[in-house]
């Protein structure tokens, strides 16, 4: 089943050029980065006029007919569209960047600007492989473990973060956005792997990792990021189902907090602390 999830996403994410509708299930969209999602279809109409339509089993249709630019296509396909396609197919996308070591995944989550990508890039300098940037897709269907699908193979970093993390910039992410795609220093992971730890990034000193108590894990996991909302709409999951799903995550995976200053002068020391934490976790056992 695990290999199937990765193969299924590759199949469902195949892109063809064509015409996309402007409404989905009666909901009419406008070109304002709005999306609509149902149990089998997804439609996004971006502010630059690009339309992206997906129907289960038919793949993704890219409609450039009213697009002012095609520069941002990759961003929309790898972000919102990928999350929509995953959700419709029963996979659970979360807002996280992740690295892998010894066949397991350590993910870092937090709101936009929390430093997920920068930390993940910095961990590459400590030999940890990039697993995904900004979105981690989980397969929750295996009762024994939470499996992760590897993400897209480049980081999105601000110029100062590229320098801090020793990454190599390879091109701008999108027009009007001061972020650049960057190659990770630690290499890439391409296989599906189990999730070992999900760590919430916080600002605070001294830099440290803290375990999260069970009820608080549920509070932290029950976020309202657009990926979670998308999943709820696509799957029509009830309160009961969502609670049980989050509880499975909270039971199967170590949930922690990483407090650090976010001061650039302390970046290398704090990243080294995180690398040491991940390595000692893998050497010391697992949940």
């Amino acid at each position: 089943m695990n290999e199937d999830a990765q193969a299924m996403m590759r199949r469902e994410m195949r892109v063809t050029l064509g015409n996309a509708p402007t409404e989905l299930d009666g909901e009419v969209l406008a070109p304002e980065d709005l999306y609509a999602i149902t149990s089998d279809s997804f439609l996004l109409w971006t502010y630059c006029g690009l339309k992206i339509f997906y129907r289960k089993g038919e793949g993704v249709t890219l409609d450039r007919s009213s697009a002012r630019t095609t520069e941002n296509e990759r961003l929309y396909l790898n972000g919102t569209t990928y999350a929509g396609v995953a959700s419709i197919n029963g996979l659970y996308p979360i807002h996280a960047s992740a690295v892998s070591i010894d066949g397991r995944v350590h993910a870092f989550t937090g709101p936009s600007g929390a430093g997920k990508s920068t930390l993940t890039a910095g961990l590459g300098m400590h030999g940890l492989k990039l697993f995904c940037d900004d979105m981690l897709v989980l397969d929750l269907r295996d009762d024994r473990q939470i499996m992760c699908l590897p993400g897209h193979k480049q980081l999105k970093l601000l110029p100062d973060a590229i320098e801090l993390a020793g990454a190599a910039a390879v091109g701008k992410v999108a027009e009007g956005m001061d972020k650049y795609y960057a190659e990770p220093a630690g290499g890439l992971e391409t296989a599906m792997l189990p999730l070992a730890e999900l760590c919430f990034l916080e600002v605070g000193e001294p830099a440290r990792f803290e375990d999260v108590a069970p009820a608080e894990r549920m509070v932290l996991l029950d976020d309202d990021h657009y990926t979670a909302v998308m999943y709820r709409y696509a799957t029509g999951s009830s309160h009961h189902e969502r609670f049980r799903q989050l509880a499975r995550l909270a039971n199967r995976v170590k949930i922690s907090r990483f407090f650090r200053s976010k001061d650039a002068a302390k970046f290398h020391a704090e990243t080294a602390l995180a690398a040491g934490h991940v390595r000692s976790f893998e050497n010391g056992g697992s949940r």
Partner: protein, 89 residues
């Protein structure tokens, strides 16, 4: 209060996470955590035991007298009834 202590099943969802029982209040969407003695009392609520039977079972489990724990258990049950998680049959 007399009668069996009953869980108000339609009002919440419960899940064991590690050694805590986490309740989701379906009305408020708030989470509640039961650990230690609270978890043990909650685990004794089986729809058949009344207040006294719960206290007796807990006293046996903790190897103490019913009088020693009576007040604390009563207070906990009252809180859970007020919160809409338990009721008396």
């Amino acid at each position: 209060m007399s009668g069996a202590v009953l869980k108000c099943d339609g009002n919440f969802i419960e899940q064991l996470i590690d050694d805590e029982i986490v309740l989701l209040d379906l009305d408020s969407a708030d989470f509640f955590s039961l650990s230690g003695t609270a978890r043990d009392v909650w685990s004794l609520v089986d729809g058949a035991r009344d207040r006294d039977a719960i206290i007796a079972a807990l006293a046996e489990e903790y190897d103490c007298s019913a009088d020693q724990i009576d007040g604390d258990v009563e207070q906990f049950l009252e809180q859970m009834v007020a919160g809409g998680f338990l009721q008396y049959g």
